[in-house]
């Protein structure tokens, strides 16, 4: 089997802890109900999350604690309260994903440590898209140094592991779109996208995604990140495109798009389809393996 459904999903704690404070936050929170239904209807047996808020340096990390239980307080929005979590992880898949990444030349490792801090972005997606641990999940980190080539390889390794698992898998990229945030406290009632330019870029990206043009969005990620401060250079789009097959052959469905503290947050699904009505081109190579960086510039 392979990927049966993909999501671009928001990452901010307001949606989990304080949605009622802003009409837009509430709408985006509530839109998860339809996404949950689509996830259930897909028959997915596993939800794999790539989180731009779980930063790694030593290659790529896969959560492999079968039951992470702890509490999370957001670094900025600690006044909103505490996110208590009790997750169910598919540890066999974590091992398989790690091995697949290593086979493609990536530095990768599983992490299985009591008290390991699961990041806010993963928790927002896990708790709103998959409450009560309806299906097991996987979580993979975002390497801060990885650029497009390495991130594509990480996505392809996920696809290797998914195909080897024989399971129906849904994948989610937890990321902001535009990531300019208010740097002074605001009244939640006054929240809006930080700038009109950011809003326009977000809407253009979402327009492409609604047309199912994920690969086109992947190709545009660098420009979007430059123009709209995309979170972690929008590498979540590279990962998502690679794990879903690097095509434009999807049915896109936008559940919601709102501002959260000035950033652009959207919930959108991509369902694979077999026929393509779109032509597209690859502007850059798509690497199959990663060669590493340790000995390029050193000594």
């Amino acid at each position: 089997m392979s990927v049966v459904l993909g999501f671009v999903a928001p990452s901010r704690p307001q949606l989990l802890l304080a949605a009622e404070r802003n009409d837009g936050w509430q709408r985006l929170h509530d839109s998860f109900a339809d996404a949950r239904q689509q996830l259930a209807d897909s028959g997915a047996e596993l939800l794999l999350i790539y989180s731009t808020q779980w930063h790694s340096i030593i290659g790529h990390q896969m959560q492999a604690d079968s039951n992470p239980r702890w509490s999370k307080v957001d670094d900025d929005f600690h006044d909103l309260g505490t996110i208590n979590y009790d997750l169910k992880i598919d540890t066999d898949f974590a091992d398989s994903y790690c091995e697949a990444a290593q086979k493609r030349g990536l530095a990768a490792r599983t992490v299985n440590y009591h008290g390991f801090p699961v990041d806010t972005g993963s928790l927002v997606v896990a708790q709103l898209l998959n409450p009560d641990n309806r299906i097991p999940i996987g979580i993979v980190s975002c390497n801060v140094y990885a650029d497009r080539g390495e991130t594509l390889v990480l996505g392809k390794a996920a696809r290797d592991a998914i195909e080897a698992s024989g399971k129906k898998v849904a994948v989610a990229a937890s990321t902001s779109l535009s990531n300019r945030m208010y740097t002074k406290a605001i009244d939640p009632q006054n929240d809006k996208i930080y700038s009109q330019k950011d809003d326009e870029w977000n809407r253009k990206l979402l327009e492409l995604l609604e047309e199912g043009r994920l690969e086109d969005v992947s190709q545009l990620a660098r420009q979007f990140a430059t123009e709209a401060h995309g979170e972690q250079r929008m590498k979540a789009m590279w990962w998502l495109a690679a794990v879903m097959g690097e095509t434009n052959n999807y049915n896109g469905k936008l559940f919601g798009y709102e501002a959260v503290y000035g950033t652009g947050q959207a919930l959108l699904s991509l369902c694979p389809q077999h026929s393509s009505s779109q032509l597209f081109e690859y502007d850059e190579d798509s690497s199959e393996t990663y060669q590493g960086d340790r000995d390029i510039l050193s000594k």
């Binding site: 930063h55 900025d76 600690h78 006044d79 505490t82 009591h114 406290a185 050193s298």
Partner: protein, 297 residues
């Protein structure tokens, strides 16, 4: 009440590797003792000895690993304890901590910085997990854990606006810190928890402490580190500030998180030499243990 003072200002880098290598009882992983970071270990021993000879009440640490974007935040809960697991190096750092916070001084710093126009917040959630940078720098500088701490987050003005804007904020935050310390009557040690050059290798040897795999990421990084250390030794801190935007950009310096500029601001931009106790690399990044005596008179 007598006037408080900053008795020492230190660069106290926070690679968890250094705690791991020391094998303190609080840390769960055990190191091989292969010695990759010996120069920094020795540097911290010298700093510990120096601080042990001083009379002080509180450690004030500015940490890059509590990142905030809505201004600068300070811990505002009197006590924290628990297990700190480094999300980046969990194989090296799983540290059982128990620390007390000087909330009164933190509030004074918060207030003084607000009066200078900075966006400031107190963190009052008791479930908050203290970042590993704070724990690491405090432990390495003064492992007795017998002093209260004040912890200041790393605001993101450098990233959200520009290096120049960030530098101005950090100088103001440093000045506010000094003013608050003086009003508090406390004797404070300041810790800038920061590396210098900050490009990591993205792979790790089987034994993370294997010296054969430990060296600077590239010669550009070491050239910048040596240059900045030269200015520190020569007491040319204003020149450091003048060159900081270039240092940040050209060496991917962790000083972008503001700790060193905060420290220099609190010390009144020293024009006298500091003691460089040690310099070494950790997974390719450049790190120095440095101490200035109190503020410029």
């Amino acid at each position: 009440m007598s006037k408080g003072e900053i008795v020492s200002g230190c660069i106290a880098p926070h690679p968890p590797h250094l705690v791991y290598a020391a094998n303190p009882p609080q840390n769960e992983p055990r190191s091989s003792g292969a010695g990759a970071w010996q120069a920094l270990h020795d540097g911290y021993q010298k700093l510990q000895k120096s601080l042990d000879s001083k009379d002080f009440d509180v450690l004030i640490v500015h940490t890059p690993h509590w990142k905030t974007r809505v201004g600068h935040h300070l811990l505002g809960v009197p006590q924290f304890s628990g297990l700190s697991v480094d999300p980046i190096f969990p194989n090296l750092f799983r540290f059982n901590f128990d620390l007390e916070v000087d909330v009164e001084l933190a509030e004074k710093i918060c207030s003084a910085a607000q009066q200078r126009g900075l966006e400031m917040h107190m963190m009052r959630n008791p479930d908050f997990r203290v970042d590993y940078g704070t724990i690491t720098s405090c432990h390495l500088a003064h492992p007795q854990w017998d002093k209260q701490i004040v912890c200041i987050s790393s605001g993101s003005t450098h990233s959200d606006y520009s290096n120049e804007s960030g530098e101005l904020e950090m100088l103001a935050l440093g000045e506010a810190t000094r003013e608050a310390v003086e009003k508090s009557g406390k004797r404070a040690v300041l810790l800038a928890s920061t590396s210098l050059s900050h490009r990591h290798f993205t792979s790790e040897p089987a034994d993370p402490e294997d010296p054969e795999h430990e060296y600077i990421y590239n010669s550009n990084q070491s050239a910048w580190d040596e240059h900045v250390l030269g200015l520190i030794r020569d007491g040319k801190c204003q020149q450091i500030l003048d060159e900081m935007p270039d240092f940040i950009e050209q060496s991917i310096s962790e000083c972008k998180e503001g700790a060193l500029t905060w420290l220099l601001g609190a010390l009144g931009v020293p024009d006298y030499p500091a003691k460089v106790y040690g310099y070494g690399t950790v997974i390719g990044t450049g790190n120095a243990v440095v101490e200035w005596r109190g503020p410029k008179q």
